[in-house]
Symmetry: C2
Subunit: 452 residues, 2 copies
């Protein structure tokens, strides 16, 4: 995978039904992507694996699912209306619009830009050479109007992060679950950012899905808790089978920290097209958000600490990641080309839990005596597993096709099956085959999937 | 449930952590709702149950997950830009805006309005008595701008239905899955409609989640296929445990049919607050959508029929439903108040597959000898099931609390457990208790959940 160019990878994702350009028949739309038949299964499996780890398996976590459109005061309180913006300049001649920081970066060494105020003095339009306006801030939130009248009072935004949906529900969750500190709230859902330059496939899209945790903790216990979450989240990535040498942890330096953050650590993955880049951020947001919402909503959002008898505003540790970027990471990381008996074999070594299809049912041929038995076997498995039935072309080609989409197990129905009522299970990674009575097939596959 | 007023039900949903008003601390926002810790689990279980039935268990179906924001030409082709609108009138004095058909309906018998052109002549503003404008069409799609410039060229819409995401991907799915007719594509995702009068809680909200199937079939085979889908979908609702006498099927009459539909049938549920109302629509959309996309995209979207050697445009049967409305139906339908030994008991008789929490682990008391064992039991179960650990208040109250949220099984750890290493499983519906060794607990609960 390391040498695969990005556009080859994009067309491979399309050909196998993982990711399509959104509304492609109309020429697409920049920064929006659709997940195909295999893509939606992988994406759902990622979400399920995360939810299982951070909600189901923990006593100190619950989930929520808040709306994408919220009362717009939320985004005033969070600071997004004021500061979630990029500096833009317009060309006075051709009227094109550009990101000021990118214009400058293309004229200077990158280091000289970072952390400095944006200054386009002396620059001309890169398209027509025309004069440029002063930079103006362009907000990255998508704006819409709720209700029948389009005016200032009806402006609303598509959320740029799921996190605020958790903060505004802090009190509701506290009241309905009676959780004690420390505890966390997890959420999976779509967010939207009107990126000026979306790019690198699903690495930075305008519509994306987030998996965010806000973990509430006593002030003072936040730093230790932050460390624990960094370890936990790193373990999660490794537990999904991502290669250790491709992952590293990077500390944000002072200038880079968001306005709300006391400390932020990124888990980065080494992408073939972009080098090391963030796949998850773990921030100490302090009490910034709850305090701002207290102020803007005009009500207290506090936790009663029985030990001290005090009403306190908890600190917050936030592990935050994008589903789409995780999807990209896993596809890239699991992609292996190897040689088997002199032939090239392409395998997606996805953890079975994540594989879009768990079991392929493959009759040796389309022989009319084999097909009914193979169909019966597929029917037996379907209530339990995602199954693909495939009887086209040679068995060798069909094995290869399943390897390429990461199917961990192939079940082959052959002429012996008609006598012994048994089938062969082929393992994707070892390519070993074992013979199993059909009567034990569900149980055997279940155990294999549980163990893996 | 039948006599429960709507607002009592809404506050009950809030109190138990099922549904909260969106961004409630800012006074909410009309037509948007958040799902709390129990709500998100029920909602996810509904989606999983649907996906299992319509994708996993069928050989003729695949899923996709397309973006909410699509190339806006999609909505010109689908007819939404032109016709997805309500007639509105403005008051010339107070500037308030009203839905013309609702104004008229409040002045006439409902029958006289249905299917007739909207005419507000002679009506006055219901707020101030002022003069009204002529009706103008108001489009129900939420509008936004993609990219740095807000102009006509950058207008985009939040999808008002997931269906079009399927139609524009018809060719991609065909090419990557090599499916033969008849086959279908399923999708779950958010849709948005800027309803003038959202209402009845999550029955009609502005942001909602749909589960839609577009099933492609040879022209001529469509009517029989439609019948089969009506049966299949009705079976699904009954299979979830919804009461048969509360469900019925209603045929759309001619005037009511959408512009694309040859025939539409609704599955309706008898809601306590609204009488019989649609919970799923099953439409024969003919070849309307694919034909329109062919025309607007300027390319063929056809299926090659090997038997006839013809390129054909398939007909489409569309079973379409809303997750939120299904959620509401299941909560209402499963709500039971009964008398047990002279005491009132409230139970959510949700099918175990749907229940937010599968197992409650309940130490008889907070006794220090019981707690470690109870925690160990909870830890054993968590990798398999959604578990709630509860040691507050009397065991009787805790049983009642679990009954109220529909938890099918309670596992009680008592002093005998310390001797026999066994626990008691209590069944929510029968209230029967059986003693099971901890060593067999996972397996026993798994079987009970599988059977139910």
């Amino acid at each position: 995978m390391n040498n695969l160019p990005m556009d080859t990878f994009v067309s491979l994702c399309k050909r196998r039904g993982f990711v399509f350009q959104s509304s492609e028949i109309y020429g697409g739309i920049g920064g929006f992507w659709d997940y195909g038949p295999l893509g939606v299964e992988l994406k759902n499996n990622i979400k399920r694996a995360w939810w299982k780890t951070v909600v189901q398996e923990r006593d100190d976590m619950v989930g929520i699912d808040s709306a994408i459109v919220m009362n717009p005061r939320t985004w005033v309180a969070s600071g997004h209306v004021e500061t979630f913006a990029d500096p833009m300049v317009d060309c006075r001649s051709c009227k094109r619009r550009f990101r000021a920081d990118e214009l400058i970066a293309s004229h200077h060494e990158p280091e000289s830009v970072h952390g400095h105020p944006v200054d386009v003095a002396g620059l001309r339009c890169p398209e027509c050479g025309g004069e440029l306006t002063e930079p103006r801030m362009f907000n990255l939130m998508f704006k819409t109007y709720v209700g029948p009248v389009e005016d200032d009072a009806s402006v609303a935004y598509l959320r740029p992060e799921t996190a605020q949906g958790i903060f505004v529900n802090f009190e509701n969750v506290l009241n309905t679950t009676r959780k004690k500190l420390p505890f966390g709230i997890a959420q999976i859902g779509k967010s939207f950012r009107n990126e000026i330059t979306p790019g690198n496939f699903i690495f930075r899209d305008r519509e994306f899905e987030q998996m965010e945790i806000e973990y509430f903790v006593m002030p003072g216990a936040d730093e230790e808790c932050h460390e624990r979450w960094i370890e936990d989240r790193m373990s999660w990535w490794l537990g999904l089978g991502v290669r250790r040498d491709k992952l590293h942890i990077r500390e944000h330096d002072k200038e880079e920290l968001s306005h709300y953050a006391k400390r932020t650590v990124d888990i980065e993955y080494e992408f073939p097209f972009a080098g090391f880049a963030e796949v998850e951020g773990i921030a100490n947001r302090t009490d910034f958000d709850l305090r701002r919402h207290e102020e803007f909503a005009g009500r207290t959002l506090r936790y009663f600490d029985e030990a001290s008898g005090q009403q306190i505003i908890p600190y917050v540790i936030e592990p935050s990641m994008g589903v789409d970027r995780c999807f990209l990471t896993l596809l890239i990381d699991s992609y292996v080309e190897e040689e088997v008996r002199g032939e090239k074999r392409t395998v997606l070594r996805l953890k079975p839990e994540l594989a879009p299809i768990k079991v392929a049912v493959l009759p040796l041929s389309r022989n009319e005596r084999l097909v009914p038995t193979a169909r019966r076997v597929a029917g037996l498995l379907r209530p339990r597993f995602m199954v693909q039935y495939d009887d086209a072309q040679s068995i060798g080609r069909r094995y290869r096709r399943q390897d390429e989409i990461g199917t961990p197990f192939g079940v082959t129905v052959d002429f012996d099956t008609l006598d012994d009522d048994a089938v062969t299970i082929r393992d994707r990674d070892t390519m070993e085959q074992v013979r199993v009575p059909i009567a034990n097939l569900v149980q055997t596959l279940r155990e294999k999937l549980d163990e893996s």
